[in-house]
């Protein structure tokens, strides 16, 4: 049993669940994203609990189906339950997950206070995932999905997504 911030996932399931990714951010495993709250094996049946990042996140249904399929491929039957409490926070994205986001071209969430300064006061703190400059500005508070905001780098001129802090 491994326990991380109230997470309870049987060791044998790690390699399987690690293969399941967020359909919107394919480089990011759902484990690194922190959406799997528990996964317990009993015989060959697995009970999985996942939590949505945002209430309306359309990826949750797909994630649920993908988990079932991955487990089935390894000979397990399963049921996947959606739990709302405790509510997901961007703090649950693992360091490895943050790195994967950056490599994919999405700036990882800042701390809550810095996030506020950036989104409300236009402070230039978000690091451009392309060139590393913090000479960046917000183009739109909402981006291609509910969890991201649109940014542009004023040094390399590249537009990019910023994963908003959710606490």
């Amino acid at each position: 049993m491994t326990v991380v911030q109230g997470v309870n996932i049987d060791d044998v399931l790690f390699p399987i669940l690690e293969q399941v990714s967020d359909p919107e951010i394919p480089v990011l495993s759902i484990l690194e994203m922190g959406v799997v709250r528990s996964a317990i094996v009993k015989g060959n049946h697995v009970k999985v609990k996942i939590t949505p990042t945002y209430s309306g996140c359309p990826a949750m249904d797909v994630i649920g189906d993908d988990i079932k399929k991955a487990l089935q491929d390894h000979g397990y039957t399963s049921d996947v339950e959606l739990v709302l409490s405790p509510a997901w926070t961007t703090d649950w994205i693992t360091p490895k997950g943050r790195k994967a986001l950056e490599d994919y071209g999405i700036a990882a969430p800042l701390e809550a206070e810095a996030d506020k300064e950036v989104l409300l006061k236009g402070k230039r703190l978000v690091k451009c995932p392309q060139c590393g400059s913090t000479n960046t500005r917000m183009v739109s508070q909402f981006g291609s999905t509910a969890c991201k905001a649109q940014f542009q780098c004023d040094d390399c001129q590249e537009p990019f997504d910023y994963f908003k802090c959710l606490k």
Partner: protein, 251 residues
């Protein structure tokens, strides 16, 4: 149904997010700019996601063969208990923003209250939703200021929107019978207590936006009892079209 009061209470919360979510969804592909289009539809998605959580819970309480979809799609106009504010049309962008702002300030205060609910399902939904609504409120307050403190025309339109929508704000703080019962059980939020912090916050933003705070004391009500403005019927006919035409269809 074992707990009809709780069921009705949940509808009183979720019909607001459902109808406002549907209204904002109408802007998909029609927003004044790409960024605002995406913002309004993202907010819509958050609201509809919250609605699903509420309705899934309500369906469990109702039992029989109720589902989140049957509750959302298969009621008649008088059975919807959303406030009049959220059903108002997207007249122009200032109007859309004004409606959003006047609701967001209320919504945030309401969810703060609901986080304390003794009902664990409702407090869990509130804990989740309040983070999203914080972003909504920032977005709409920001635009009220930009339009209010913008050009002569944007200022006028923002002022007109606030003046027009003001009449629907008082209803937010009326308590219903199911409210009273739920409040006494420690499950519901006493919305009448939110009135003062609400108007304080709204006034603060309007002043920052260099807009006049309306003085009119004439208010409209009825939504919470199912008596709606003419606009709701049109939204419902749009929203319910598929289920009414092809009963029980699924995606």
């Amino acid at each position: 149904m074992k707990n009809k009061t709780l069921y009705n209470y949940i509808l009183g919360i979720a019909d607001n997010t459902l109808i406002l979510g549907q209204r904002l969804g109408e802007l998909c592909g029609h927003g004044p700019s790409l960024e605002t289009d995406i913002a309004c539809t993202n907010i819509s998605l958050d609201l509809l996601g919250q609605t699903r959580s509420y309705f899934q819970y309500a369906a469990k309480i109702k039992g029989e063969d109720a589902t989140e979809d049957s509750i959302a799609f298969l009621r008649t106009e008088r059975q919807y208990v959303n406030v009049l504010l959220v059903e108002q049309p997207n007249t122009d962008f200032a109007y859309t923003i004004g409606r959003q702002f006047l609701f967001d300030v209320y919504h945030h205060l309401f969810l703060q209250g609901l986080q304390q609910s003794k009902d664990v399902n409702l407090s869990a939904i509130a804990n989740k939703a309040i983070k999203e609504v914080g972003y909504h409120q920032r977005f709409s307050s920001d635009w009220v200021k930009r339009l209010g403190d913008g050009t002569e025309e944007s200022k006028q339109r923002m002022q007109n929107a606030i003046d027009d929508l003001w009449r629907y704000t008082d209803e937010l703080f009326h308590t219903t019978e199911s409210d009273d019962e739920m409040i006494s059980e420690g499950v519901g939020v006493n919305v009448s207590e939110l009135k003062e912090p609400y108007y304080n916050k709204v006034k603060q933003v309007l002043e920052e936006a260099k807009l006049n705070v309306p003085e009119s004391k004439w208010f409209q009500k009825g939504g919470k009892r199912g008596i709606h403005t003419e606009h709701l019927g049109y939204i419902l006919s749009d929203m319910q079209y598929m289920q009414r035409t092809y009963p029980n269809m699924t995606w």
